[in-house]
């Protein structure tokens, strides 16, 4: 860390004074791909950006921080990243002092998914070689997840959430020989000291009074080394969970699957031929589920030994842009980037798979697995997404996701918005209610597969059904009624209808009636067969009225 503090390259350090004044103006263009800074080598650029970020953090210039997070190198290094993430996330999710959240510490009731959590945590951090370290990381990971789940018992845990949280754990544990007991000791020991330094700026962000410790980099360089701030980590995970991952934490996969459907839309916009080739109009894009649920952390496992791994920069980008559309756009870009390979594999395997669902899923899985380790491709994709931030509004796809979805609310890409935790909890509750409603209606639909009325309703409400067809159906129906009316047969039909109605009433009391749909279909059927209407109508009514006697 020491090296980073004073590491501005000689050629740039002289401009530092004016730099802090104009940081926000500069930040917009300074670190993009075509910046003049490319004249300097990568290390120089990194050092320069480091000093810019430090200044911004010092000034608490939130907007510029977002811009910097989205540009080249992200937040550059782990120590900075930690501060920036906390700065951004604690701003995006505000936890006010007096809220129930702060006092809710004694919430110890076990969450229903804790068993699954420990099963997954046991299998996390597989790449860490040091057994002791691995054990400590796992313990911390489990504790964080369990704390979040117990604090918000309505959230449901999903396999993959542990991957996301492990990214935060790796970032926040950086530079610490993490130790349970030592952690709490050092934390309480340094509180008083850091309070003197900067109580005013930090106070608003604090969830409890104890921990206003390491917000400022300069003074606390040393203290942050000793104490690991679990509260900060917890605040970040909490904000990320509630604002970005909320859709995934229902008790079913419906909402994440909704989100996945944006991916084919993005691909379609890029290349319609490719979209058609992969049958994406017919196939559900389940192949992307692990990438999206884990924001790529399942593919790109975070590791302490690789602080420059692109997974961190992906998170920088997502948090800075406040957008969960980013992972979806990135996935679509990844597919487009690998287009040729995918087409090749598709053609090669076309005989091996009998159905196109298996074919596309198998091919995409096979093509994308090697990209897990390929930094280059991820770099390319990040550059792509950075240079073409999906400016188009998500509202275009409003119909695809539920209206309380993260994509439309808390992580819609709308910059610099912040939410009160209470409001987000309200959103969460609404979403959960919607989810369970959908589950029951789904189960209902399964039971009554042929429901004519619903088909009609869907036909008329769906946007894909062209207006001209709707109009023509309407005109057709109108014509039939006109004809009936002009022939005077409506009058003739009335007694028939009355009888049917009576019959329905009687049998519905007894719970016997089954065939309401056919009341309407039968006369129409006869009508089309028999041109001489009045005679038919009177015949039917006669026959019905004669059967009436036998019926009742």
């Amino acid at each position: 860390m020491d090296t980073l503090v004073g590491a501005e390259s000689p050629s740039l350090s002289s401009s530092e004074e004016s730099l802090s004044l104009h940081c926000d103006i500069l930040a917009d263009s300074l670190f993009d791909e075509k910046s003049l800074l490319n004249f300097f080598n990568e290390q120089e650029q990194r050092d320069f950006k480091t000093s810019v970020i430090r200044n911004i953090l010092h000034d608490r210039n939130y907007k510029t921080l977002c811009t910097l997070g989205m540009s080249n190198f992200g937040f550059v290094s782990t120590p900075l990243r930690k501060e920036c993430w906390f700065e951004l996330l604690s701003r995006q999710l505000r936890v006010s002092q007096g809220s129930g959240y702060t006092t809710n510490k004694g919430c110890t009731r076990e969450h229903r998914d804790e068993n699954q959590v420990s099963l997954d945590v046991q299998r996390s951090f597989t790449s860490v070689t040091d057994e002791g370290r691995k054990e400590k990381l796992r313990k911390l990971l489990e504790r964080i997840i369990v704390k979040i789940l117990r604090r918000y018992p309505k959230l449901s845990y999903y396999q993959g959430y542990h991957d996301v949280v492990s990214v935060f754990v790796i970032v926040f544990i950086e530079g610490h020989d993490y130790d349970d007991e030592c952690n709490f000791l050092s934390l309480s020991g340094m509180t008083s000291k850091s309070d003197d330094n900067h109580s005013n700026g930090a106070a608003e962000d604090k969830s409890n009074g104890v921990s206003s410790s390491t917000t400022d980099l300069y003074e606390n360089e040393t203290t942050s080394k000793i104490g690991f701030d679990e509260d900060k980590l917890l605040r970040c995970v909490e904000a990320f969970t509630l604002l970005y991952l909320r859709d995934f934490m229902m008790d079913s996969l419906d909402f994440p699957i909704d989100q996945l459907r944006l991916i084919p839309e993005f691909i379609k916009k890029n290349s319609k031929a490719f979209y058609k080739k992969l049958n994406l109009d017919k196939i559900e894009p389940f192949f992307a589920i692990s990438s999206i649920l884990t924001v790529f952390s399942h593919e790109l496992k975070p590791s302490e030994n690789e602080p420059d791994s692109l997974i961190f920069q992906i998170f920088d980008f997502v948090i800075s842009s406040q957008s969960m559309v980013v992972p979806l756009a990135m996935y679509a870009t990844l597919i487009m980037e690998k287009k040729d390979t995918i087409i090749e594999a598709y053609n090669a395997n076309i005989d091996n798979f009998e159905n196109s669902v298996d074919l596309v899923h198998g091919v995409i899985q096979q093509v994308l697995v090697p990209t897990r380790c390929a930094e280059k491709i991820w770099k390319q994709i990040l550059e792509e997404v950075r240079s073409n931030p999906s400016r188009e509004h998500i509202s275009k796809y409003r119909g695809l996701v539920n209206r309380y979805s993260t994509l439309l609310t808390t992580a819609s890409g709308q910059l610099h918005t912040s939410y009160e935790v209470e409001d987000v909890i309200k959103l969460l509750e609404k979403e959960i209610a919607l989810n369970s409603k959908r589950k029951t209606s789904k189960a209902h639909a399964k039971l009554h597969k042929t429901n004519t009325m619903r088909t009609f309703a869907r036909l008329f409400s769906s946007r894909s059904f062209p207006l001209i067809c709707k109009v023509s159906i309407f005109v057709g129906m109108l014509a039939i009624f006109m004809k009936l009316y002009r022939d005077g047969s409506i009058k003739a039909m009335l007694p028939t209808l009355r009888i049917y109605l009576k019959k329905y009433q009687c049998s519905s009391f007894a719970g016997l009636y089954r065939g309401l749909n056919y009341v309407w279909l039968d006369p129409l059927h006869e009508l089309l067969k028999n041109p001489s209407l009045p005679r038919w109508a009177s015949k039917v009514s006669r026959s019905i009225s004669s059967s009436k006697d036998s019926d009742f």
């Binding site: 699954q116 099963l119 997954d120 046991q122 299998r123 996390s124 597989t126 449901s156 999903y158 396999q159 993959g160 542990h162 991957d163 008790d251 079913s252 996969l253 017919k282 196939i283 559900e284 389940f286 192949f287 589920i289 692990s290 649920l293 884990t294 399942h298 091996n352 798979f353 009998e354 159905n355 196109s356 669902v357 298996d358 899923h361 198998g362 899985q365 096979q366 789904k442 399964k446």
Partner: protein, 219 residues
């Protein structure tokens, strides 16, 4: 070459991915990372045809779909077991609970796939933890209990250890042989019916007919 689709189902952490990796890569990790969604792998094996005159082995390829075990991923499973030729339903012999989850899977397969030719194999994993010579026998599901159930339901049944590799190859081998047998009979009857048609250029449909419609399955 014949190709068959195979799917692994079962509760979380029973060792589905470990079994696949033992079979495909002949490797084992004590803690294999959780599967999210599903993973796809393929592997070929050789089958000796005892009935035919030729001494050459037949190569068959398994297209293996390894699914996630958590309950919430269950809704994705139909996509993977649809059109499957064989399903490996895995349980952990040290966890009584996992057998009942396996039985749920068997029921679901029987109800939803409705195909006589689907081979279901009940697979008890973690045999290495149940070494009877050791004192630390962690067995919770008796072999007989599972065996009786498997016979009732007409399933193949094995106990294996992905860790030591014990029995894993045999499972895939016998499934392969069984599938090959079914395939051969199918081909023979087909040949019998259309004896006049061309011989070696016959393009045999290896998988069972499918509905290409993703909405046809119930999620």
């Amino acid at each position: 070459m014949f190709q068959f689709k195979l799917v692994l189902l079962g509760d979380s952490s029973v060792g589905k991915s470990s079994i696949v990796h033992r079979f495909v890569k002949d490797s084992f990790d004590d803690f294999r990372e959780s599967t999210i969604g599903a993973a796809f792998l393929s592997q070929t094996i050789k089958i000796r045809d005892t009935s035919s005159d030729s001494t050459e082995d037949t190569v068959i390829k398994f297209e293996i779909w390894d699914t996630a075990g958590q309950e919430r991923y269950k809704s994705l499973a139909p996509m993977y077991y649809r059109n499957a030729n064989a399903a490996l339903v895995v349980y952990d012999i040290t966890q009584q609970d996992s057998l009942s989850k396996a039985q749920n899977w068997v029921n679901e397969l029987k109800n939803k796939v409705g195909d006589e030719d689907l081979i279901i194999c009940l697979l008890g994993n973690k045999l290495d933890l149940c070494d009877s010579s050791d004192n630390g026998d962690k067995r919770a599901v008796m072999t007989d209990e599972a065996k009786v159930y498997a016979e009732e339901q007409d399933l193949l049944f094995y106990e294996v250890s992905a860790k030591t590799g014990q029995g894993v190859k045999d499972v895939f081998q016998s499934i392969g042989e069984k599938l090959y047998q079914i395939k051969k009979e199918e081909m023979l009857s087909k040949k019998g019916r259309q004896a006049a048609s061309a011989k070696d250029s016959v393009n045999v449909k290896l998988q069972r007919p499918s509905t290409n419609d993703p909405t046809s399955c119930c999620y």
